[in-house]
């Protein structure tokens, strides 16, 4: 389990995260939603030790995160973020093999084992990138690159996946494919995932647990039906919404009702 307990993170005087708690359990996809500046990405970034909290605890399988080395954290917690601008030519396969670094025997030396190649090829297949494995990352479209970033995270075989707006660059079909892959990893390998997203309907469809954040605080945690209510969403996003059941899946479907529509 990966747990944030009463976490507070400060940037100067501003509390980006304010006594927020979160629990990631095996097999569960958790979506973290909330308006811009609510502290979602900051909270996610603190969970693998990149941002240090001012107060509160992060527990990795009941042990404080500080007890683990960088490598051992990376072996257990993988992050999918918007990838940085690449300044050197790197092939897709080389990029994905970066996820196998934590499995190398030496600290910074060592060559990929057959098992590393096997894992990389499997995740490339899963992310539909096998055909592109020899291409340079710079030759891929934004969506393909985002899939490569996911493939690299999957290649670490970490039990916790932290995804920071993983679907931002993706078209509808790849959004669903990417989150299906994450869900599959959670179902089949008992991994736990945290997905920060602005797409509430995607969260409703794929997440087992939804956490709603506002001004650094986790104001509500529960299943999508409990969290995605018009009252709570109005309070947090200050937008009137219509919530009905998705005609196929039955999960809550959220439609904003903007002021302009009221005239119709």
């Amino acid at each position: 389990m990966l747990e944030a307990r009463d976490l507070t993170i400060q940037y100067g005087d501003r509390k980006a995260v304010d006594t927020a708690s979160l629990l990631l359990r095996p097999g569960i996809v958790t979506a973290l939603i909330g308006p811009n500046g609510a502290g979602k990405s900051t909270l996610l970034r603190s969970l693998n030790g990149q941002i240090r909290p001012a107060a509160g605890k992060i527990l990795l399988n009941d042990e404080p995160l500080e007890k683990f080395t960088r490598r051992s954290i990376a072996k257990q917690i993988a992050v999918v973020a918007q990838e940085a601008e690449l300044r050197f030519p790197v092939s897709v396969l080389e990029f994905v093999l970066g996820g196998r670094f934590v499995w190398a025997s030496g600290s910074g030396w060592g060559w990929e084992s057959e098992r590393d190649i096997e894992v990389a090829e499997t995740v490339l297949k899963e992310t539909d990138l096998s055909e592109l494995s020899g291409r340079l990352m710079s030759e891929l479209s934004g969506g393909e690159r985002q899939r490569a970033v996911l493939a690299r995270a999957l290649a670490t075989e970490a039990e916790f996946l932290l995804l920071d707006e993983p679907t931002a660059n993706l078209d509808m079909s790849h959004q669903a494919t990417l989150l299906s892959l994450v869900k599959q990893r959670c179902d089949e390998r008992r991994a736990a995932a945290l997905v920060v997203t602005h797409d509430i309907n995607l969260a409703s469809q794929f997440a087992d647990v939804v956490v709603l954040m506002k001004a650094g605080q986790a104001v509500k945690t529960g299943n999508s039906a409990e969290v995605l209510t018009p009252e709570l969403l109005l309070e947090v996003f200050q937008v009137n919404v219509l919530v009905d059941a998705h005609p196929v899946s039955g999960v809550p479907r959220v439609t904003p009702v903007h002021e302009t529509f009221r005239h119709f």
Binding site: R71, P89, V90, F95, G99, G108, E121, T122, G134
Partner: protein
Amino acid sequence: MPVAATSNFPIQQNRATLRKTLVACGALLSALLLAILVTSLVGSERLPSGGALCALVSLGTNQCGLTSDQFDILFQIRLPRILLAAAVGGSLATAGASYQALLRNPLAEPYLLGISNGAAVGTMLALVFFGRLEWSRPLMAFAGALLATFAVYRLARGKVGASPERLILAGVIVTTLLSSVIVFVTTLMDATRIRSFTFWLLGDLSGASRGLLPLALAITITGAIALTFNARSLNLLMLGERDAFDLGVEVGRIRIIVFVVASLLVGSSVAASGSVGYVGLVVPHLARLSLGSDNRISIPSAALGGALFVIVADTIARTVIAPRELPVGAITALIGAPLFIYLLKRS
């Protein structure tokens, strides 16, 4: 479903592997040894090729018909200078390749970032204050290089990390600042020393101190090995510090290793031969272009390639207008600058 390890992914052939690295480094090492042999025969004083080669291959245990003057020229003057050229080239190319990976900037280079100037100021201060202590020069050069490295890094690092433009600008600021210090100290020198000093600043192996050769060689070899052993971490750092952190790299530790080892490399090479420019820029570029971006192959190849490059450049420097000599830095710049323009256009 398990996937067979022997699949037909086309990139498999292009990916850096231990075998490919050993083949590339083996070929470069052979070329380097050949260059050492061949360039030992070239110089203002003609040596009989057969005898000289025989003496070299016997590592000086057999005089092979050379006169004692010829033997001394070969083993006391030419070979040490060639080995020093190899150490300087290997050091600068290795330092350049590692700075480029760590700072994610293909233009990062000891000379352009002002790190060579930092080492030059250190060497000058050692000359002024501890003139008789030969070992003080590489030590002070190392300190100067390290200080310049941290200064550039701190200046370049904004709130959102070091952008390539900021880094180069920081390099320009540090270079010009240190250049003015150099000019200030130079003007205090007497006229006879100014010429040799200017030569040294441009990169010159002719006045090289033989006493520093074992140290320079030892630093080059251990430095290149140390950085190669961190090459996989550097591969991830090339993708960005945040990505490297997420993937398990101890970013701070690697940064310190690269800064310290590269400063040692630059320091020992500047103390021995002044600021030889462009080696750290051109050689790693050629290594990456021909062998790929993987630092596990490009760093050791750059080390060997750099040694080869400076040996050839110095042979040109000491023969083209013989018996007079050019500073080797002028030759590396003459070869390096057009090659770099070509590389820029190609990319």
